[in-house]
Amino acid sequence: MRTDDERPQNSPETAGAGTTDAEAADASGTGALLDAVCRGLAQLARSAPEPPRRIRLQDGQASVEIEWPDPLPGVAGPVPVVVTGDAEQPDEPMNDLHSFVRAPMVGTFYHASSPDAPPFVRVGDLIEPGQPVGVLEAMKMMNTVTAEVGGRVVELIVSNAQPVEFDQSLIALAPVPVDQEV
């Protein structure tokens, strides 16, 4: 759920800070700009006789710099450069190694099937793909939420009986090494 408080406004106060202003602009312009820059860069790098040593890309306060080590004498090979355009969704509380059980629709998420029942899962549990991990109530219908992939429960992100929106992360799972698999 996004509220207007999170969004920058065109007020003199917020516009006064360069970053907020630039962020407001980001919504539409910068993506295309970056795409164009990256394309141009790739062409440039290809057309030059040598691979680049350093690429620095700046937009407002954000900047990315890639530096390659000086080529060793005798070794010349080109260095592949991968620049991804889109940033990761910033609302993930966990790093990329985790996977998430997400809400399949809008509703209220419950850890257990009833107030008296034990929760479906607890932190530390190992779960299998397809295993029920909670219920989502929408319009008085209880919908079982299942995990698409297996893993170890590292966090119950959404507390019991909390409203959630579609695709919201409910439970964080860590991948399980092969020898530990259930």
């Binding site: 919504a27 295309a32 809008v106 929408a138 695709d167």
Partner: protein, 465 residues
Amino acid sequence: MVVPLFSTILVANRGEIALRVARACRELGIRVVAVYSSADRDSAVVRFADESVHIGPAPSKDSYLNIPSIVEAARQTGAQAIHPGYGFLSEDPDFAEICEADGIVFIGPPAAVMQQLGDKAEARRVMGEAGLPVLPGSTGALSSAAEAQDLAEQTGYPVILKAVSGGGGRGMTVVREPAALRSAFNETRAHARAVFGDDRLYLERYVDDARHVEVQVLCDRSGSVVHLGERDCSVQRRHQKLVEESPAPNLPARVREAMWDAAVRGARAVGYVGAGTFEFVVTQDHEFYLMEINCRLQVEHPVTELVTGIDIVREQISIAAGEPLSFTQSDVRCHGVALECRVNAEDPARDFAPAPGELVEFVPPGGPFVRVDTHAYPGWRVGPHYDSLLAKTVTWAPDRSQAITRMDRALSEFKVAGPGVRTTLDFLRQTLAHPLFLTAQHTTGLVAASAAPDTPQQEVPEPTR
């Protein structure tokens, strides 16, 4: 309206109409909740709203038609009312009923009225009884092809077969000779079963070379009914309206007035509440017949707003809150002429195939007497999931000729560009320049006739919205 109406309204729609409704809420001091599918994360209404709820993935059936998600979103955000816009759930009596049962005000007519008028055969019957002119044809659903054949003999050819649960130009077939009736009956029935889950059909006399004229009504809960004049929506392509205007040009005052009266009588007959539209077919002899009644806001409502000065969405909200209309029929005065062009992201050169893509450049027209309703902005990616309406350009002028030249000026300065993006801007300008349109001699066959003058016109005067 000194009384606070609602403190929060959820807008259960997307695109330009979601923004349109959100603007009305904001002006009334009402908090706006937007709902969005994964494809609409960065949409204009999400940027505009006070709060937004992600309700589902891109496909409409899982998001904008997902009743549980939408109702839950309203609950979570404390919305007391839901505005459904047009399309999606706007004419779904079940949705209206669920809202009512949940204590959420559905901004639209009562579910029972929607149910009754959504059954096109039933609407035909009720309105016929109320004294509205309906085309000769069946009084209820047809039981067999044989019954259809008998009826067609009585009414005379051509006739049109329509699905009872259809509407908006879908589920209908024009039949020009007796030999074609049986197979048309079977095909239309199969189609109706597949698309609407209801294979009942009815039959009417079909009118060639007709115009499409509709009357806007507003009705409050206390039984006041006013009309806001009429709109001519005869410029259509495959039952899709492209250009709308108010008032209807080239229509005698007595015909116009008779249509207003008919709409008001019809609205009274069913206890209509809210904003509604009575769509009529008008023959070359200025005879008019009811086609259908739309229980919602129309895409083309801005033309009526510009000639009357009445904000229809504001009135919808006010009516839903139980307020009486703040004006009477005699307060409604129409000034000048308003014209709307729907700018779609479609490629006229490829049979109007949707032409989505990122809008690298998007500069809508402005200046005197030009209104633009759009959800697009530079950088917005027009997706393939929903309809291709990009912007409604509306112009006003003291007379029709100036409204047309003003529209041409506005369309000429509208800049839309991006990889893969095509628009109907130039096609619209060509249409406006057509001699039949300029002289208001056009019928719903205009676009088909312009595109292929040798093809016999087979346009059915019923658009989607």
